[in-house]
Symmetry: C2
Subunit: 316 residues, 2 copies
Amino acid sequence: MPVIAIDLGGTKLATAVFSEEGNILYEEKVALENRKGSEVGALIAQQTKKILATQKEHPITSIGVSVPGISYQQKGTVWAPNIPGWEDYPLLNEISVVAPNIQVMIDSDRACYILGEVWQGNAKGCTDAVFLAMGTGIGAGLLVNGSVLRGAHDIAGAIGWMALEKPYHEKFTSCGCFESRASGDGIAKLARELVEKTESYDGTLKDVEPGKINALDIFGAYEQNDVVAKEVIRQCIELWGMAVANLVSLFNPQKIILGGGVFGPAIKFIPDIYKEAAKWAQPVSIKQVILEPSALGYCAGLYGAAWLALQNKKAT
Amino acid sequence: MPVIAIDLGGTKLATAVFSEEGNILYEEKVALENRKGSEVGALIAQQTKKILATQKEHPITSIGVSVPGISYQQKGTVWAPNIPGWEDYPLLNEISVVAPNIQVMIDSDRACYILGEVWQGNAKGCTDAVFLAMGTGIGAGLLVNGSVLRGAHDIAGAIGWMALEKPYHEKFTSCGCFESRASGDGIAKLARELVEKTESYDGTLKDVEPGKINALDIFGAYEQNDVVAKEVIRQCIELWGMAVANLVSLFNPQKIILGGGVFGPAIKFIPDIYKEAAKWAQPVSIKQVILEPSALGYCAGLYGAAWLALQNKKAT
């Protein structure tokens, strides 16, 4: 019996019908455009209704939802920092109205990423694994002893706030030390600083308007041996390695999956990241872990949402 | 029905009979002296046999054991770095020989610390809590969703290896960045370095032979406004705060219990540690956590071992 998976991102909404075996039977994507607050909720309800209507032959009994923020499981509400008005949004209720008598399970994107990789990706068979999602921001999906680690109030895995570099600096205030240094945005900021600071600099990043350098520009420039890009990547590998080491020492996982927009182009540095992590981590534990890129890429959240729906169906 | 708790430390062995309600009915302590390898195993067997003989009226059906290292649960063996010859010691078998037909459950000291505090100490009622044990070394007992987090190969919680200060330094190699900087031994080392480096220094630590300064000397000197002691404690509060912040951001716990020999005298700095952690941690999560000292002190491992025995008895 198929299930519906819904993956809400910061800029678009994906809905899909999955078979129990993990095949996508139908998929649809729609941009959020400038929707906010209840308009985003209405779009999800509308897409859910529409996809339910296509499934008359195999009635849907379960829906899984991935959200870009925190799912408060007890209350059925969602906090999503990039969707204006979603501080405590009653998403469970909104979907239930258009999907009566259907199980709905909502979880954070980072939880869905690791569940997707365990189900159909590079963490198959793992009981203890981490999905380190590095894009515009940074978060971690944590699987321990076969279950997602949520913490006492559903906000575990906020690894963007990891302290890695003392002393404390004001620039860590808005999004945390690790994220401000080594996310897609953090990489871009560092490159801009270095370009401005390096008077003799005459590399390819000079041609990009300084305020507009992004992470992709830097990975491109690195391929051309650009001195600023090389320094930025060196610093990132150090911080990514330290973060990986800390996950290894604390969680003793079988795998750490590196994903998000940055991995992507940074996949080629995984051996260097492992080498850096090996300097810092518990020496037995580091030998027991495998670092791998995400197998599901941008679909990891959607696969995780489908897995939520399937598990929820089994449990009832 | 009472149970037996065994707490093996680096220098002594405690054995006790606990009631189900958490009362210690009988207790015995013996120094390890220079025992190593199978001599330590023989001592545990001898003490177990002896304590079993005292309990003829209420036959024991379950024993819990705390070990200063790692318990490999599948194999029933133990790795304990401070006991020579205990790389993979068959402790489960050794105890079972003298305690036939009795359930035996062995776990790491750090797991026992947090279980003890959840059962009879300052983490009562918690589902998500951490015991940060800071003594000669540093380790963390991690409780997530009501269970101890062990990792894929039983070595989760190795927080002494946490990377907090780049770049990598050779002195981190033997025991990790956090432990080399902020454990009892780390504190002492830093003080010795500062005393030697500060030419004009004329404080109380000058009277201690430099190679022999220990953590207690530093806490004592701090009370007398000693300039080196104050600098050492300032650096420690920063690192302890960063480590607490990282636990908060990753695990979103209800409580973090600070214990081990250092807490102890460092208990008075808990408000400062919280303040430092609040700068670094996920801002919602830090408001949801309470920092407290251990309620059980040096007995935390023994209480945890008793809890293991009681849970194991219930499960069978």
